[in-house]
C-alpha cells in the first residue's frame, strides 16, 4: 500500500518551511498585468464626442446629456462605474483612434454611494444655425473634416467648423440671416436643415 498521508505530511511540512504564498496586497500595491481591463477613462482631449461608445456599450454604462440652454452648449458624457462590465467595447469602438476612452489598469474602484459612481467629461456642442438642433460636438465635425480631407469643401458645415477651429473665422460668429435662400447653405447645419436647404435652393 502506498502511503498517501506521507505525501500530505511532506507537503504540509514543505508549506511550513517555504512560507506563505500570500501576496502582500494591500500593504504593497498590486500591479495588474498591462493587459488588464480596468476602469474606462475618458480622455477629453482625444474624445470627439460622437457617442459611439454609448451605443456599443452592452451594459448601458455610458450615458450623455446635452446641455443646450446655455450660451455655451455642452455635451456631457457620463460613464457609470456601477454598471460597466469592463468589457472594452467602448475602447474598441472609439472613433478617435481608440483613444477617446481607454480602459485603464485601475481596479480598486470601491465606493459608498451610487450617486457618486460616475465619471463625466464635457465637450462643446455645435448647434444648427437655422433650427438650433444639436448637430454634433465641435470636435467631431473637425475630426470629420480632417478625415475626409479636401472633400470637406463640398460641405459648408464641415469647412466652416474647420475654419473656426483654425481661427480663420471667429468662433462666435453665427449668421442671423434667415432667408431660406443661398446664404442658408453656407451655415453650419444639421442634416435635416441641410436637406431642406438643398431642396429649397435648387
Amino acid at each position: 500500500m502506498k502511503l498517501p498521508k506521507i505525501r500530505e505530511l511532506i507537503e504540509a511540512i514543505k508549506a511550513l518551511i517555504v512560507g506563505p504564498y500570500t501576496s502582500k496586497f494591500p500593504f504593497k500595491p498590486h500591479e495588474p498585468y498591462p493587459s488588464f481591463r480596468g476602469q474606462p477613462v475618458y480622455n477629453p482631449d482625444k474624445c470627439v464626442g460622437c457617442l459611439a461608445c454609448e451605443e456599443v456599450c452592452p451594459a448601458d454604462a455610458i450615458g450623455h446629456e446635452d446641455i443646450t440652454d446655455s450660451l455655451n452648449p455642452k455635451r456631457k458624457i457620463i460613464h457609470y462605474t456601477d454598471t460597466c462590465i469592463f468589457c472594452g467595447c467602448c475602447e474598441a469602438a472609439c472613433i478617435a483612434d481608440n483613444e477617446g476612452i481607454k480602459l485603464s489598469n485601475e481596479f480598486d474602484l470601491a465606493f459608498f454611494d451610487r450617486k457618486t459612481a460616475e465619471e463625466s467629461i464635457e465637450k462643446d456642442l455645435q448647434l444648427c444655425e437655422i433650427c438650433g438642433a444639436v448637430i454634433a460636438c465641435k470636435d467631431h465635425l473637425k475630426w470629420i473634416a480632417e478625415k475626409i480631407g479636401e472633400l470637406t469643401y463640398s460641405n459648408p458645415t464641415l469647412y466652416q467648423s474647420r475654419l473656426k477651429s483654425l481661427g480663420i473665422i471667429d468662433e462666435n460668429i453665427t449668421s442671423v440671416l434667415k432667408d431660406h435662400g443661398r446664404s442658408d447653405r453656407v451655415k453650419i447645419l444639421c442634416a435635416r436643415c441641410r436637406r431642406e436647404t438643398t431642396l429649397t435652393t435648387v
Binding site: 460622437c50 457617442l51 451605443e55 472613433i95 467631431h140 478625415k147 472633400l151 464641415l158 442634416a191 441641410r194
Partner: protein
C-alpha cells in the same frame, strides 16, 4: 437591394408570407422625412423584436434609394471610421450600411453635404421592417400606418400604375417624393 429588410422578404427566411402579397407599403418621403419624425411615435407590429421600429429601416432604405445623390467620391463612405458604409457599384451606387460594422457614430450623417442621412436613421440597433407581409390583408393592417399622425404611410395595391414621382424599391416598397427624381425602376 440587399438591405436586411429586403432579404427578409426575398424568401431567404422561413417566414414566407402566406397571403397578402398583393399590396405594397407606400411611404411618402415628402410628408415623412420632412415631418418632425423625431416626435412621432410609431408603433410597429414587427414580431421578432417587439420594441422594433421598422419605419426607421424603411426610411433609411428610401432615402438611400431616392434622396442620396450617389456621389462619385462619397463623403459619407470616406468619413465612416468603421468602413460600414458601402456604395454598391453593381447596384446603381446604392448605399448600404453593414449593420454588424456600424457603431452609430453618426459621422456619415454629418459628412453628407445633402443631409441624406439623418442621424436617427443610422441607429446602432438596427430595426427591421418585414412589411408586415402576413398582415396586409387583415383588418389590423400594419400598425405603422395607423399610428403615423401625418398619413405618410399607406398600403397600395400591387398592380397599379406608379404615378408621377413614385418609385418602386424592391418588391414591397413604394416611395413617393416630389423633390427627388430618379429614373423609374
Amino acid at each position: 437591394m440587399d438591405t436586411s429588410a429586403e432579404q427578409l422578404h426575398q424568401g431567404k427566411f422561413n417566414i414566407k408570407s402566406e397571403k397578402g402579397d398583393e399590396t405594397r407599403l407606400f411611404i411618402d418621403l415628402d410628408v415623412c422625412a420632412g415631418g418632425e419624425c423625431k416626435e412621432c411615435v410609431i408603433q410597429c407590429s414587427y414580431n421578432y423584436h417587439p420594441e422594433n421600429n421598422g419605419i426607421i429601416s424603411v426610411a433609411e432604405l428610401a432615402t438611400y434609394y431616392l434622396v442620396c445623390r450617389k456621389c462619385e467620391d462619397p463623403q459619407c463612405v470616406k468619413s465612416c471610421p468603421q468602413d460600414a458604409l458601402e456604395q454598391q457599384k453593381e447596384k446603381d451606387n446604392l448605399l448600404i450600411r453593414h449593420n454588424m460594422l456600424c457603431i452609430s457614430c453618426k459621422t456619415c450623417s454629418h459628412a453628407c453635404p445633402y443631409g441624406t442621412i439623418y442621424p436617427e436613421n443610422v441607429p446602432y440597433i438596427v430595426h427591421n421592417c418585414d412589411f408586415c407581409l402576413d398582415r396586409r390583408d387583415k383588418k389590423d393592417e400594419p400598425l405603422c400606418i395607423k399610428s403615423c399622425p401625418y398619413g405618410a404611410l399607406s398600403l397600395k395595391p400591387k398592380d397599379i400604375e406608379l404615378p408621377e414621382n413614385t418609385y418602386l424599391a424592391g418588391d414591397n416598397l413604394i416611395i413617393h417624393s416630389t423633390h427627388w427624381e430618379r429614373e423609374k425602376a
